[in-house]
Subunit: 321 residues, 2 copies
């Protein structure tokens, strides 16, 4: 039997999901896609190539003016895939979509951090009450499968602490400062030219994106009930070439580290020994998980990219199916 899914939000990640489904051969049928301007619905399966082309040419996937909420309410499907832009404070429209999906009896797979940061326990409660799955591997570290690893593979093994390099943009900037001795502004400019940093890089360089990931890990892996305000955060914009020089002389580098330990959540630049597993280069992400029995386990993967993120979404879809 084929799984019927909707894709709600059709930016880079939503398009990546369509792309990945076209490249692979899984029993998954996309019965609807919605973006902010409308939707396309076909119960026998949306033509994904045509949808991607229409989006590219016209800026929208829509062939009808149905809204995302209309799709979630009225089109029969098993899994709603939520990939709209993140709104961290309130959860934004993603939160509305996920609530609606659970109300309609649909499983949810998402890459959208906002709803999880704003309303994690409410959403888990809704999923449980309706006996539905809620999967969000793609929210933390793109292709790095840390949540599913923690939940499934390490079963029986109490997790004591997690620390990680969880933002590829920051790590690219810091790697360049370390390698080349350049200033923060220079490395940021370079990252922006390459499309690694956004024109407004605030969410990355101020640590906001890392905070969101730490909150999601704290809630999902440690069973906490944390929110954005529970994290002590320092960004990377004040780090100087001199600080890197001092670190280097002592055998260290500087990384933006998110950590959860003894119930405390923190995001800050930290000295890391040069031969430490967290000393990774470029846009790679890596988490180090301290466990009771197995000692330290590390898991790394590409932190962003539409195909990589879509791959995490696909794993979650297939897990449900």
């Amino acid at each position: 039997m084929t799984l019927r899914i909707s894709i709600i939000g059709f930016g880079a990640v939503g398009q990546g999901v369509a792309d990945v489904l076209m490249r692979t051969n899984h029993p998954v049928t996309v019965v609807a896609i919605a973006d902010s301007r409308g939707a396309v619905v076909d119960e026998s399966g949306v033509d994904l190539a045509a949808a991607l082309k229409r989006k590219k040419n016209t800026g929208t996937v829509a062939t009808t003016d149905m809204t995302a909420v209309d799709v979630i309410e009225s089109v029969d499907h098993e899994i709603m895939v939520e990939t709209t832009p993140t709104e961290m404070e309130t959860g934004g429209i993603g939160l509305i979509h996920i609530r609606k999906a659970f109300e309609m009896g649909r499983h949810v797979v998402t890459s959208n951090k906002g709803p999880l940061v704003a309303k994690y326990s409410e959403l888990c409660g809704l999923a449980r009450k309706n006996n539905l799955h809620f999967r969000f591997e793609a929210t933390v570290g793109g292709a790095m499968p840390i949540i599913n690893l923690s939940e499934e593979v390490l079963a029986g093994n109490r997790i004591i602490a997690i620390e990680g390099v969880l933002n590829g943009t920051c790590n690219y900037i810091l790697s360049r400062m370390d390698d080349e001795g350049v200033s923060y502004e220079h490395a940021l400019g370079e990252a922006q030219e390459l499309g690694i940093a956004e024109a407004d890089p605030t969410a990355d360089v101020d640590g906001i994106d890392t905070v969101a990931k730490i909150v999601i890990l704290a809630n999902s892996v440690f069973g906490m009930d944390a929110g954005y305000e529970d994290v002590d955060v320092t960004g990377i914009s004040k780090i100087t070439p001199e600080a890197f020089k001092l670190a280097k002389d002592g055998g260290y580098t500087i990384k933006l580290i998110g950590e959860i330990q003894d119930g405390t959540l923190k995001v800050a630049p930290k000295m890391v020994p040069r031969n430490h597993p967290l000393n990774i280069e470029g846009t790679f992400n890596l988490a180090s998980i301290q466990t009771e029995l197995a000692g330290r386990i590390t898991i790394g993967g590409i932190g962003a990219g539409s195909i990589e993120t879509a791959s995490a979404i696909l794993s979650d879809i297939l897990w449900i199916g």
Copy 2:
């Protein structure tokens, strides 16, 4: 309901399993333990503390002269945990125990590489035919959960290649040669003094242990039907301080790498860039998994140790339960 298990083989790993079960609170009851001199059986649960003490004081866990095969045949239990010493060429007694367990309708969890290297497809066939689980995470890299990660977490994601640092003893020796510029013989002696290398280090330093792990990964993750003889192997004993100096000058180090790519299996020392994820220190193990959609994923963990290995066994037990 509690899961009833037997522990067959009561060396470091078998004792680790008992230790881990005592430390944690899982619905698992050990109904029998066997070593080469006999067994202890108690259908209401073997007293694990007493069993560990008896082993330590008398050299055997036995209170009866039942053999391991007797236990597997005549004691009711769901899962046989096989931890006897490895015999790579024929599969040794481990192979006999696993065949017998499947014949009797018991699931198998093992840390014993020999039977998997010698008779992988036969054993998988027996498990399938009898509708039983066959789990062996502990055979590759101790606490590093690469097999379960590949099978479950990366579902939907075709794995293209794996390369890894899979032997902690070799990696310790090579790390010391790199850090201190000492000779192979010196670093090996040091590892032996610390108990990291065995008195006869052949299985580690000649690459035999890494070959076994590569064969198990090729068969389980790539669905190949490989054996020991299919791997092209070179050990580490010929590596000189001069080779390390040359590598270092060029920004490289030397690691013993096991790899599977395009159907080819290889174990050999290899130059690795100093900032590459495979440049890990000491007895840590790390594998880099190249996937079709998610790019490169890395997974690392402590490569040996009775508790760490027992933790992988416990994950497998709980997965079945």
